[in-house]
Symmetry: C2
Subunit: 768 residues, 2 copies
């Protein structure tokens, strides 16, 4: 159960019967019993299966592709080389604008051709029969090398870059400078400057400067990317896909394939894990092939294909220099933030630059961001994209400076932590936030309580770090209908990847003052659902939840008006509770929801059906902060780091479903521990992925993870429903930094490269 802070007042809680209460997820039973229908479970008449041929080179020129032998293979229905593709609006500057390259292959595993067969194994077999002649080109694998003037170019120059997908994760009114002038591997850059950093360093008593590296990590959802598409005789395209962003896919397909949006139906099938990585990827290819063959096409990535050619999270190299006065005041921060974007733009340089200087008040800032291209797979979002990379840097520095000055790491953070009104590096002021409250809460955690007890004993240590995320902003809408039997249906357009539909049921039940079971929530497809933005940027409850609340209030009003007419009273004289509308204080003048349902649906019913509608927009962020503490034990002989305990304090604004919020906090923390300890996609010097499977790419299992203490902090947001703010992403942000600080607490050395593998630990200890 959630621990509560003083921020949520006892009084306030008692008013609520549904929101703020822990409930299990409405779609959960289907998932745990295996009954949920995923995209791969879909069968359509005449359906074909696609398999894709990936490039064996990280950089090459295709000289010729010959699909004729594959076409002859028994069971093969079609082979698509670049030349066979139907027309679409190509944009080689964006990963999602390319089905197959016309000529230049940019990363190892990049799809260059596809086979359609009635059986997926036949399709796979036939891939070997496609003859591709490549001219190998020099690959550029390391981003720092790529930035050098002397570096070969990763690719032909970029044209117009569309950054709409990244904006879904973090929506701030700041633009980066796209590459211009002389061709280079720098796709874009940006600079935030404030005050005078050199003067700031001068004033300080301690200056720390290091370079921090983090690895390419994969979202590693259980379900790989999965899509089915069909294009029918009416010119209507239907796409069923495991996505967080059905409306975004509709919009993109519309623009790329030249179909109006009203002729496209995207159904977000149940998502078997997304974490930011399931926005839009293979849908264009599957749709285009279905349109070409006029048959349904299914494409389910194998694990290997997904690791080779989906969009993992980027590695980053952060040069950071910070300084502090003796009394713990941060005086200057200078950073070069380099994100390796892979072969296409799309790296989270913007949030990285905002966050590296965004946690603490600092008068002197100079943050220079680079988004650098390499011949690796292009990157995508992974829960607070880019945040963990820079947080690892700044939060290690905070500890290093505190240690040098002999200050308490929590005190030093509290002294500098941003509050409402403080500027982001971009100058935008923060709205109401709860960073300080998270720090105060983590100070009370059991894990942090062991800080001084453990230090130095048996190579154990305890460390902490903060993290945060700004969140996305997008309009949203919802419909709330009263059924004939008095139960309630809610329809939204947002994919439910984190239990948001359960929270929407709670919100609706709260507004209508009924037990939760009376409400069900459905994610419609893009033809039947009211619009919602992508389920990314942690914004779903914050935005769609508000629309649901409005729609429920609208339905409530309609129901009160029906009852008021029947009672010849005013709506405000009525009360609504437990499925009954009642004239204040009357035992006789009552109408059940069921009766209201019948009165508005029966044959010749006297009232119209009750259809509540809510539509909102918001331009105000509700950033979410976290403070996390780790207790580790380091085996100085083997280099192995064991996390013994972990605590996450996070500001949820208001936890509509504390169980779900805790789940998010624990899930994100687990991923943060994976980033800290073991997850790393490894490439050789030719840009070939070395560990494209889940045996060699090491995610932590439950056996690797400690119990995770979740402490919900509630500093209400200004616009979210019941004060809820963004929740999904912050929990991943601070893990690497907290574990790194705990290791330093244990062995006295900060590791500058994550993950903290045994090899790196031993190297840090001077044992390798």
């Amino acid at each position: 159960m959630a621990q509560e802070t003083e921020v949520r007042e006892e009084e306030m809680q008692r008013e609520y019967r549904n929101v703020g209460k822990p409930v299990t997820r409405i779609e959960g039973a289907g998932k745990v019993t295996g009954e949920t229908i995923y995209a791969d479970d879909m069968q359509l008449p005449r359906m074909l299966h696609a398999k894709v041929l990936g490039s064996p080179y990280a950089h090459a020129r295709i000289k010729s592709i010959d699909g004729s032998a594959a076409r002859q293979h028994p069971g093969v229905e079609a082979v698509f080389t670049p030349a066979d593709l139907p027309e679409y609006k190509k944009n080689f500057s964006n990963r999602r604008g390319v089905i197959f390259p016309d000529e230049e292959v940019l990363f190892y595993g990049q799809p260059v051709a596809a086979v359609l067969a009635s059986d997926p194994h036949v399709a796979e077999e036939a891939l070997a029969l496609i003859k591709v002649e490549y001219e190998a080109l020099p690959p550029v694998v390391d981003p720092i090398t790529a930035m050098e003037e002397s570096s070969p170019l990763v690719r032909s120059p970029l044209g117009d870059v569309d950054r709409s997908e990244e904006r879904g994760h973090v929506t701030v009114g700041v633009e980066q400078e796209e590459a211009e002038g002389k061709p280079s591997n720098i796709a874009s850059q940006m600079n935030f400057k404030r005050g005078d950093v050199e003067a700031g360093f001068e004033q300080a008593d301690v200056v720390v400067e290091h370079t921090w590296r983090s690895a390419v990590v994969h979202q590693s959802y259980i379900e790989p990317h999965s899509t089915v598409a069909d294009y029918d005789a009416s010119g209507e395209l239907s796409v069923w896909t495991s996505t967080q962003a059905p409306f975004y896919i509709r919009d993109e397909l519309s623009q790329t394939l030249g179909l109006p949006e009203n002729k496209i139906r995207v159904t977000a099938t149940e998502v078997g894990g997304g974490f930011g990585g399931k926005i839009y990827l293979q849908e264009l290819m599957v749709a285009a092939l279905a349109m070409a063959v006029r048959r349904p096409v299914k494409y389910i990535m194998s694990r290997k294909e997904d690791m080779l050619a989906a969009t993992p999270a980027p590695q980053a190299v952060i040069d950071l220099k910070t300084s502090m006065t003796r009394d713990g005041k941060l005086t200057a921060l200078k950073s070069r933030v380099v994100y390796d974007s892979g072969a296409f733009p799309g790296a989270p340089m913007l949030p990285g630059c905002l966050l590296v200087g965004g946690y603490y008040k600092c008068e002197n800032l100079d943050i220079q961001g680079y988004e650098v291209l390499t011949n690796k797979v292009s990157v995508g979002a992974l829960r607070a994209p880019g945040a963990h990379n820079v947080t690892f840097a700044i939060e290690s520095h905070m500890d290093m400076m505190a240690r040098e000055l002999g200050l308490d790491p929590i005190e030093v953070r509290l002294k500098n932590a941003v509050e409402e009104g403080d500027p982001l590096p971009s100058g935008q002021p923060y709205p109401r936030i709860g960073l300080k409250q998270c720090l105060e809460a983590i100070a009370e955690s059991e894990v942090w309580g062991r800080r001084n007890r453990e230090r130095g004993t048996g190579n154990r240590g305890v460390g902490l770090a903060v993290g945060g995320w700004l969140g996305g902003l997008q309009p949203a809408s919802a419909i709330v209908c009263l059924n004939s039997d008095g139960t309630i249906n809610v329809t939204v357009g947002s994919a439910d990847i984190t239990g948001t539909n359960t929270s929407f049921a709670q919100i609706t039940a709260e507004v209508l003052n009924v037990p939760l079971e009376m409400v069900n929530v459905t994610t419609g497809d893009t033809r039947t659902a009211p619009y919602a933005g992508m389920s990314a940027g942690s914004k779903t409850t914050y935005t769609v939840g508000r629309a649901v609340k409005l729609a429920a209030e609208d339905a409530r009003q309609q129901m009160l008006e029906i009852a008021a007419k029947r009672f010849e009273a005013a709506p405000k004289e009525l009360e609504m509770a437990d499925g009954v509308v009642r004239l204040n204080g009357s035992d006789e003048k009552t109408l059940t929801f069921q009766r209201l349902g019948r009165l508005s649906t029966n044959f010749a019913a006297p009232f119209p059906a009750v259809v509540g509608r809510g539509a909102i927009t918001t331009r105000k962020m509700a950033p979410g902060f976290t403070a996390q503490a780790a207790e580790v034990e380091v085996d100085t002989d083997t280099g192995e780091v064991t996390v013994l305990g972990f605590a996450v304090a996070q500001d949820a604004g208001f936890a509509i479903n504390p169980l779900s919020v805790e789940g998010q906090m624990q899930g994100g923390a687990s991923q943060g521990l994976g980033i800290a300890l073991s997850e790393e996609m490894m490439y050789d010097s030719e840009g070939r992925l070395l560990n494209g499977n889940l045996l060699d790419y090491r995610m932590p299992t439950t056996r690797d993870l400690p119990p995770i203490e979740a402490i919900i902090v509630e500093v209400p947001s200004e616009e979210g429903p019941y004060g809820a703010r963004i929740v999904g992403e912050p929990s991943i942000v601070a893990g690497a930094a907290a574990v790194g600080n705990a290791i330093a607490d244990a062995i006295g050395v900060h590791l500058t490269d994550a993950p903290f593998t045994p090899e790196r630990v031993l190297r840090a200890l001077g044992k390798l």
Copy 2:
């Protein structure tokens, strides 16, 4: 193309760009190319196929059922006898309240057990292994015999009868008397009385009295009843079924299976023909079996199963006595209207009694209706249920009386035809109607023009008849959304069985003043769609169309308000045309729909998503009348009747899509000709169906049908969108009567039994 009458003014038409224009159906291409996904095309993981064992007796007691041998059959997964069924709220008084009888079998082919197997052929094979021991009971097959006091009882007594399904087809505030007291085979009865019929007969110059019989006819949709159901671990029931009434099914399943409506999702799959027969039938069984085995279950009726055990339209026996003065005034009408309901109540006695005395002003009425049970399959609706049976009687009488008095059949009808304000037999006054205008229009038809030319030559004749239908009433709602690219999505809850979604697209495009292609319409399922009544009773355009219009107007207003804010103007200063909103007269202050879409969906967009909502109810009927003329040739040697020409004038109120209205008129007329000429389900004395297939049950094919002249009359309804009124049903009503009158015109004899088979013609001619 539709011929127009003076009722729709030329001026009015010119105002419209979308409504009133003939357009092809938006879902048509999928149907004609075979790409449409019907229920039978669905595949779900782990799905089982059901086959049903029918009773070989029309009346029997089940002594024992042994499914054990069938259960052992390889491939069989489950066998359900009555004892194996899960619990449900049985109601043996309604067909839809019984999955299998506990004991008493009531009609030949009644399902008594089911097999589930992974292959439908295996399931069918295993049926033969179910051992049922029956005790045969005396069957009662003829309804008139059944009414006799001495008749054996058809069944154990009825309890509470639910008539909600019938009310969907015709919604008038009149109740029938349910059977009470001594058990008999009369399920219900009713009486309408006005004036003094005996005095009326006295005043008249001619009195005609006959008995009119019509046959059991089958809806004979191309697609038989088809259902898939699944029940998941969350306790949610999903049903995909070929139905006209998804919300009705939801409500019924909720009550019968004890599930709340918010846990039931009914998807109306594309209906391959309904005609009133696809409301609710096997859905309960399929859902119950799916719940029992916790796997998806599919049940597709074979043609034979459908003809044996679906719900055809009833036979009726109408005793009618009418009288007229020399100058053509109807003075009295007395009728006994007997509908054979089969083994369960549900016959359309109520509309029959209303219509037999509902076409003409008549001061003296005595109409006695009986709904009689027999051991035959229970009946359902077929397009204007019950109307053709009584119309055959009254419209034959009008001709007979006119002929005896030497009056013109059109004149005599015009003299007596009901108008706005005239009472129905129940006393309710008619709203605005167009019966007279239909008569005037048919007088101008080509077919009627041949009336005097053809008479007597070569056994050719021309006859006419009127018909009408009152229609159903139910609340409706709709949602109209603006997409990001400026196109429009409409969501409704009504199954589209007649092209109604196309009309809704026209209505929306009209309101928003855009080309039709910019609008698409989707029927959602009962979880995502706003409520709509069943697509029956011809009410879909009349009710849902009005909701769509309101929703489009709401969306329009929201769009104008966004533009008004951008232009700093008032919404009323703006105009909207061709996807652009413009400040009156300005070339600069314009906003495209696409821009409006982006402004309400983009990241950090300044405006909420545009979601128009419309919800209506109506308690005012919009009855639809028709006048139809037939030209026939009778082969007096073989008795064969050939229809050489047919004309239908019908009041559509306002034909939103004249192409679709004509299609309805022609389709209904074709079915009317089938009823007139050849369609008849034949039972032997043991109640066994003799012609349960489409070779022996003879529907007219295109080779049997003449060209059908469609004349659209437009007397606007008071509440329908743009004046539209009910359209789907009236066209079937007058065919038998018109052909009968034409035969009489040709050979001088009225046939009193339909269909007019060669045998009956020869008998009437005294040749048999």
